[in-house]
């Protein structure tokens, strides 16, 4: 049996690539995954998962310092920072091993090395694999899925140096807790690190070039988050531009200009979280019909590239840069290759989550976008302070906002901030995917007492009025 001939070759073993491989394996295809680093990719090893482990630790720290509210007292609360970080790494290691097991179970061949498109041979796509720059093997298959992901964007002057200036990677494995920290960029990654370090006790300043934090979220949610984070002691500088950067022995001083005034911010460490760039280099795109647009591969709604039989999924295939989008695209492409009928992804049905405290989650259009799209809106809001379970839990900070199209009852968007909203947003995602209207959401019986009742109330509020406010 030819060990280098496959039905599908997946370049990259992140949440897009390994899920595509599992699905293709389930559908009876012979699959290879080429991965240069660790199975599970950034998400599992350096992104979504280890940060959740860190954030969990920081929430516990916060709770331990606020026990009085629940009638407890504890003296001498302390933590071993190295062990906090170690636990996060163990979580990643456990899950990466789990991915290897899953791929084996679905008879997927995993090949370690750097995969690259290498032309055609006999009507088949060739993918060459190299380790340390030396080619080890060439694989062939009629179908190739490019899932090489992305990496942090680097601002000039703020190149990660492993000591004073960190990217997400260094920020995930700190040796010790810095006393003060500047987070540049207030997207999900920046805000999550800000939340972790602040709740562990560091002084945190956030700078954002846009006029509000979490700029892709609904403006009301951004404002709510901003207030909540400031209340926790963070300094938030929006509409801010970075100027000169001076590095000291154990400190960095940065000029920050806001509204024409320049101030100096001095911190021990800087985290740069200003977006990502796609890993499009050295993967054999040159000279092909595959189009690259600002470090991302251009694809059609079915993730097809300009080359027949070559697909691109996940971060490399453009926004939103989310693991669940990559995985879903992976499944869609695998099913497509297997001849199944598939449906393109509606970007408005992809939820976004930020795991700061309080959490932020949303799906669909913001109020601003819905208005711009020409809809006549019905907007409902409900605060967590009106929810029994939230008060009982001691987590009354948050709100839910729903946006409906007045003409059709379509749920155009849902925006949440508060405890566990990242676990709850799927309810609204199901509503959008199933094309439910206000009628079905109103008639749905939400269990009592749960914080999910806020979701129901926010729907009622958009129409006849919420019951508990």
């Amino acid at each position: 049996m030819n060990t280098t001939q496959f039905d599908v070759i997946v370049i990259g073993g992140g949440p897009g690539g390994y899920v595509a491989a599992i699905r293709a394996g389930q559908l009876g295809l012979k699959v290879a995954v080429v991965e240069a680093a660790q199975l599970g990719g950034i998400c599992l090893n350096w992104g979504c998962i280890p940060t959740k482990a860190l954030l969990r630790a920081s929430e516990i720290n916060h709770l331990l310092h606020n026990l009085g509210e629940f009638g407890f007292a504890a003296d001498n609360v302390r933590f071993d920072f190295a062990r906090v970080v170690k636990r996060s790494r163990n979580v990643s290691a456990q899950l990466s091993a789990g991915v290897a097991h899953l791929l084996k179970k679905h008879k997927v061949t995993v090949i370690n090395g750097f995969g690259k498109l290498a032309g055609m041979a006999g009507g088949q796509r060739k993918v060459s694999v190299s380790v340390d720059g030396k080619e080890t093997v060439t694989l062939t298959a009629p179908n190739v899925i490019v899932a090489t992901g992305a990496r942090a964007r680097v601002l000039p002057g703020l190149e990660p140096d492993g000591k004073l200036v960190w990217s997400y990677r260094e920020a995930m494995v700190p040796k010790e807790l810095p006393r003060s920290l500047l987070v540049i960029g207030s997207g999900a990654i920046g805000i999550e690190f800000a939340s972790f370090y602040r709740n562990m006790g560091a002084e945190v300043t956030i700078v954002e070039v846009a006029d509000r934090i979490l700029p892709v979220e609904d403006a009301e949610i951004s404002a709510f988050a901003c207030k909540a984070l400031e209340k926790q002691g963070m300094k938030i500088l929006t509409g801010a531009k970075l100027g000169a950067i001076r590095k000291g022995d154990n400190s960095v001083t940065i000029d920050v200009t806001m509204g024409g005034k320049t101030r100096q911010v001095m911190v021990e460490r800087v985290i740069s979280a200003v977006g990502i760039v796609g890993n499009v280099e050295n993967i054999g795109l040159e000279g092909t019909a595959i189009e690259v647009d600002r470090t991302h591969i251009r694809v059609d709604p079915y993730c097809r590239t300009g080359e027949k039989g070559v697909y691109a999924i996940g971060d490399i295939a453009g926004a939103p840069w989310l693991a669940h989008k990559a995985s879903h695209e992976g499944v869609m492409v695998a099913e497509q290759i297997a001849g199944r009928t598939v449906h393109p992804i509606n970007p408005l049905n992809i939820p976004g989550c930020t795991y700061c405290r309080p959490q932020v989650a949303s799906v669909g259009m913001t109020e601003e976008k819905a208005k711009a799209a020409g809809h006549k809106l019905r907007v409902g809001r409900f605060p967590f302070i009106g929810n029994g379970k939230a008060i009982a839990m001691g987590e009354p900070e948050g709100m839910v906002k729903t946006i409906f199209d007045d003409a059709t009852g379509e749920l155009l968007g849902a925006h949440m901030i508060g405890p566990e909203v990242t676990e709850m947003i799927q309810g609204y995602v199901i509503a959008r995917t199933g094309e439910l209207t206000d009628a079905e959401l109103k008639e749905t019986i939400f269990p009592h007492p749960t914080i999910s009742e806020t979701m129901h109330e926010a729907v009622l509020a958009a129409y006849d009025g919420a019951l508990h406010i």
């Binding site: 009928t341 449906h343 009852g409």
Partner: protein, 420 residues
């Protein structure tokens, strides 16, 4: 490689049809352009021509099957000598569906009774799988979900299907269709079961919908015909005895023209109701009801107000002849802005017609008969016919309907305007 032969869409609004007949048999060689099957829609019987060549490998849908959704594989075309798969070839999203193309209308079966642009087949009482949002949007736009093909999971109708249908079809005043009702059968009564033709189903659905969802009212008036009959006699006397220029104008031809002129004088009846606006038609296109075996159809005299009587006469005769032969093209019976139904030849005294949506008016013409009429203080004899105008009250109110029938009487009783 084998190719699925798919149920073709023979018109933009067709969603399903009946496979009337397989012209080719399994195993028979097919050249591109060969007629391979006949499909019966609500409007006509059409021939399906092969686009690719090969051998008809397998017939998946036997002839006589009704309600086959567009794009359902009906057969498999294979290459000469190739083995024949049992099941349709799975489609990929990129696969081009069409391996057959509709031929021009040929005809053996009867077209539909009327002319709505969004005419569609019946639901047959089967469950329609559609998302709540698709249902809501369809209700708002007056789209019958049973006429759509779903593109969602397991063929579910989703929002984009409705929006595509809405952008494909012109606005119609058609509200949501009522659920089909099973007709009760008297216990113990003997009967012969005559299956509905496609046309019969369309007549049932369209007229039920018109009568139950459009608020009709009726305005009746007696019209004296003597002047018109005298004019007709004069005109026909002027015709050459025979030859290509010979003509014989009927009373009906003159009433078509009279109705058209009346619509020009009272244009507010030449309209259609839609959800958010009244559509006032630019042209006056008169649909003329023609009885055909097992049904009726309404071929159209376009811009009848601008045409001479001889032209109208020739067109009506040609349309009626071809209608009875089932040879009308869809555009010859789809559309129209106002209808005329004439039962004068049967001697009926008066009747009221059901509207032909989205048109807002239909004129029912009864027999002209000699009746005593009062002129001044004298009773004299005149040829009188009773006409009944049915209108859609959503767009035509009582005074307007009355104005229209008066104007119509005026045109008929002073018929010189028909010829100048």
């Amino acid at each position: 490689m084998s190719i699925n032969i798919l149920m073709p869409a023979l018109s933009p609004t067709m969603t399903e049809g009946k496979l009337a007949r397989w012209v080719k048999a399994e195993g028979e060689a097919i050249a591109a352009g060969d007629v391979i099957a006949e499909i019966e829609t609500d409007k006509a019987t059409m021939e399906v021509e092969a686009v690719d060549e090969g051998v008809l490998g397998r017939i998946l849908i036997p002839e006589g099957t009704e309600g086959i959704a567009v794009n359902t594989p009906i057969g498999i075309l294979v290459a000469e000598g190739e083995s024949v798969p049992d099941a349709p070839v799975p489609a990929t999203p990129a696969a081009a569906p069409a391996s057959v193309a509709p031929a021009t209308a040929s005809a053996s079966a009867a077209p539909a009774p009327q002319a709505a642009p969004a005419a569609a087949p019946t639901a047959k009482g089967r469950r329609v799988f559609a998302s709540p949002l698709a249902r809501r949007i369809a209700a708002g736009k007056g789209i019958d979900l049973s006429t759509l093909k779903g593109s969602g999971p397991n063929g579910r109708i989703v929002r984009r299907d409705v929006e595509q249908a809405a952008s494909a079809a012109p606005p119609t005043p058609k509200p949501a269709a009522a659920a089909p009702v099973a007709a009760p059968v008297t216990a113990g009564a003997g009967y012969e079961r005559v299956p509905h033709s496609t046309m019969r189903k369309v007549i049932a659905r369209r007229l039920t919908e018109a009568k139950t969802t459009v608020p009709h009212f009726y305005v009746e008036m007696d019209v004296q015909l003597d002047a018109l009959l005298a004019l007709r006699k004069q005109l026909n006397a002027a015709s050459p005895a025979e030859g290509p220029d010979a003509y014989k104008i009927s009373v009906n031809d003159m009433l078509v023209k009279a109705a058209a002129l009346t619509l020009r004088r009272v244009p507010k009846v030449n309209v259609a109701y839609s959800d958010d606006a009244t559509l006032v038609y630019d042209d006056v296109d008169i649909s003329v009801a023609v009885s055909i075996p097992d049904g009726l159809i309404t071929p159209i005299v376009r811009r009848a107000d601008t045409k001479g009587l001889r032209q109208i006469s020739n067109e009506v005769r040609d349309l009626a002849t071809r209608a009875r032969a089932g040879r009308l093209k869809p555009e010859e019976f789809q559309g129209g802005t106002f209808s005329i139904s004439n039962m004068g030849m049967y001697g009926v005294k008066a009747f009221s017609a059901i509207l032909n949506p989205p048109q807002a008016g239909i004129l029912a013409i009864a027999a002209g008969e000699r009746r005593p009429v009062v002129k001044g203080d004298e009773i004299t004899i005149a040829t009188v016919m009773t006409v009944t105008l049915s209108v859609d009250h959503r767009v035509v109110d009582g005074a307007l309907a009355a104005e229209w029938v008066s104007a119509f009487r005026n045109v008929v009783e002073n018929p010189m305007s028909l010829v100048v």
